[in-house]
């Protein structure tokens, strides 16, 4: 695999909240056109890494660097964990997607027709046009996730950053969302970064993996990271990597 032009580089970066370290010594990069999965258990620091990537959190040590030329063109489309949004808000899918256009509309101004067209395009891109007038609470988990992806797309993003997009979903919805992410990556050329705690789900979709657990991590192309040797070092478990029906499966040896 050829190395893509790096967009964001973490150099020996450490993060924490209120003096409590979450992760330290992290060095990896997100390249242009990457499809990167960040995998680890709850509390490992996956969402922290996303926030740092988005510029919402400063490292307590080390650096997070944006390529000078790329930073200007870097437009992140963030998709939060869907359960962090409160369904008490009586907002339609269209109203939620339209929020992504508020900065473009400007202060004291209403979104213009070009903003509405961007909303239409984003909804069409993820096949949500027919649900545009539904409220978030009226949608299934998968549909809610699509609505939030549409909002991220409406920002005009070239880097999609998703926080646990398949968490709590059934098998069908999970693969539907993962397929959508892969389509956006392959067909629309988006750089996609997402976090999950399901290694088996993620490993068969992404090109690169960042696996973290209790401060240990490994990063690289899937075929390099997804080996028993690498995973045993990270998880400190007797891990076996096998192939079933064309897919990689990671299990703990008994």
């Amino acid at each position: 695999m050829t190395e893509a032009r790096p967009l964001v580089r973490f150099e020996n970066a450490a993060f924490g909240y209120g003096g409590n370290p979450v992760i330290a010594g992290l060095t990896f990069a997100v390249g242009e056109g990457d499809f990167l999965g960040i995998v680890g258990p709850n509390g490992a620091g996956k969402s922290t890494i996303l926030k740092a990537m988005l510029g919402l959190l400063r490292p307590t040590a080390g650096r997070v660097l944006y390529e000078t030329r790329a930073r200007r063109d870097l437009r992140f489309g963030y998709v939060p964990q869907r359960h962090t949004l409160d369904h008490i808000y009586p907002l339609s899918v269209r109203a939620i997607v339209r929020m992504a256009r508020y900065p473009a509309a400007g202060l004291l101004r209403r979104p213009r027709s070009e903003d509405e067209r961007a909303v239409d395009r984003a909804l069409a891109a993820i096949d949500m046009t027919h649900l545009a007038d539904r409220r978030l609470e009226e949608l299934s988990g998968g549909q809610r996730q699509r609505a939030l992806i549409a909002r991220a797309l409406a920002t005009g993003a070239n880097v999609l950053v998703l926080d646990e997009p398949t968490d709590g979903m059934d098998l069908k919805s999970t693969h539907s969302i993962l397929d959508l992410m892969r389509r956006l990556h392959r067909e629309d050329g988006l750089t996609v970064v997402f976090v999950s705690h399901q290694l088996n789900e993620v490993a068969n979709y992404v090109d690169r993996l960042l696996v973290i657990d209790e401060g240990r991590y490994d990063w690289g192309p899937v075929e390099e990271v997804l080996t028993a040797e690498h995973l045993q070092r990270i998880y400190q478990l007797d891990v076996v990597v096998d192939r079933v029906a064309g897919s990689s499966v990671v299990v703990v040896a008994r």
Partner: protein, 270 residues
């Protein structure tokens, strides 16, 4: 009843406060910060009590203390290191007690406490009502102008921050407008009615409608209607006006919940 100046004055001032608090209340309910509103009201009342005790501008004391509360509530660390509800509980009870203690030995001690809680909207002067109408129209105008920003930052502050909004500053502006509204309202209509305006019309709007625009419209209209009906009922049957307005609001809310239940059962909801 409209032939009386003092009733027309009370209608003007109370409607202005009620309608704008109902608008702000939609955000308060949606952001789930009702208890923050209640605590701000108590802090503000302690400021008024301080003004009564010192004999120097209760409004300034009230706004000053409310401003300090706003800075505290809008700080990013609020609710992070210690449970938010517990902090609010401490502030709420201590402020409430302080308000009572501060006016206890003034010339009209108990009467002042009753006014702080129940208000005395029929004692509003014409100049006071006009000033309140102007001030609340200003708060509404600023809030409406920043509608989309407040909505975005209330609904999803993290996503908004990734697009360049400074969530902390916007939060501060939001709480400042709320704090000013609360501080001005309490002096004129009392804690109880102000808090009722902040919570009941918004809850009614959100119960009987399924979109934000209509919910705001219902909230503001129901507040205006409750002011008129409440003052008319208090005039007609000789009851204190502020509790009567709250009773009307409570009745409207109960009817709204019942309607919603019946509409839902018949599949008409929406």
């Amino acid at each position: 009843m409209l032939e009386y100046d003092f009733i027309r004055t009370a209608l003007l001032g109370t409607t202005a406060i009620g309608v704008v608090c109902a608008y702000l209340g939609v955000y308060v309910v949606l952001r789930r910060i009702v208890f923050v509103g209640a605590t701000m009201a108590q802090v503000s009342s302690a400021g008024i009590a301080l003004g009564i005790l010192t004999g120097w501008s209760p409004n300034v004391w009230s706004l000053g203390l409310t401003f300090l509360a706003v800075v505290f509530f809008a700080h990013p660390s609020f609710g992070k290191r210690w449970p938010q509800d517990a902090t609010l509980g401490v502030l709420f009870t201590v402020s409430g007690a302080a308000a009572v203690l501060l006016v206890a030995h003034t010339a009209r001690g108990n009467e002042e406490v009753v006014h702080l809680v129940q208000g005395n909207l029929l004692a509003m002067t014409g100049a006071e009502a006009r000033w309140l109408a102007l001030a609340f129209a200003g708060i509404l105008a600023i809030h409406a102008a920043l509608f989309k920003e407040f909505l975005y930052l209330s609904f999803d502050p993290t996503m908004a921050a990734t697009q360049g909004y400074r969530a902390g500053r916007w939060n501060m502006v939001f709480y400042l407008l709320l704090g000013v509204a609360i501080a001005l309202a309490i002096k004129a209509i009392g804690i109880l009615l102000m808090f009722a305006f902040l919570v009941i019309p918004a809850s009614l709007g959100l119960v009987v409608t399924r979109r934000l625009g209509p919910a705001i419209a219902v909230a503001m209209l129901s507040a205006a209607l409750a002011v008129y009906l409440g003052i008319w009922l208090s005039y007609r049957y000789d009851f204190p006006s502020a509790p009567m307005i709250i009773a009307v609001l409570g009745g409207m809310f109960a009817a709204g919940v019942a309607w919603r239940g019946m509409a839902g059962a018949r599949g008409l909801a929406g």
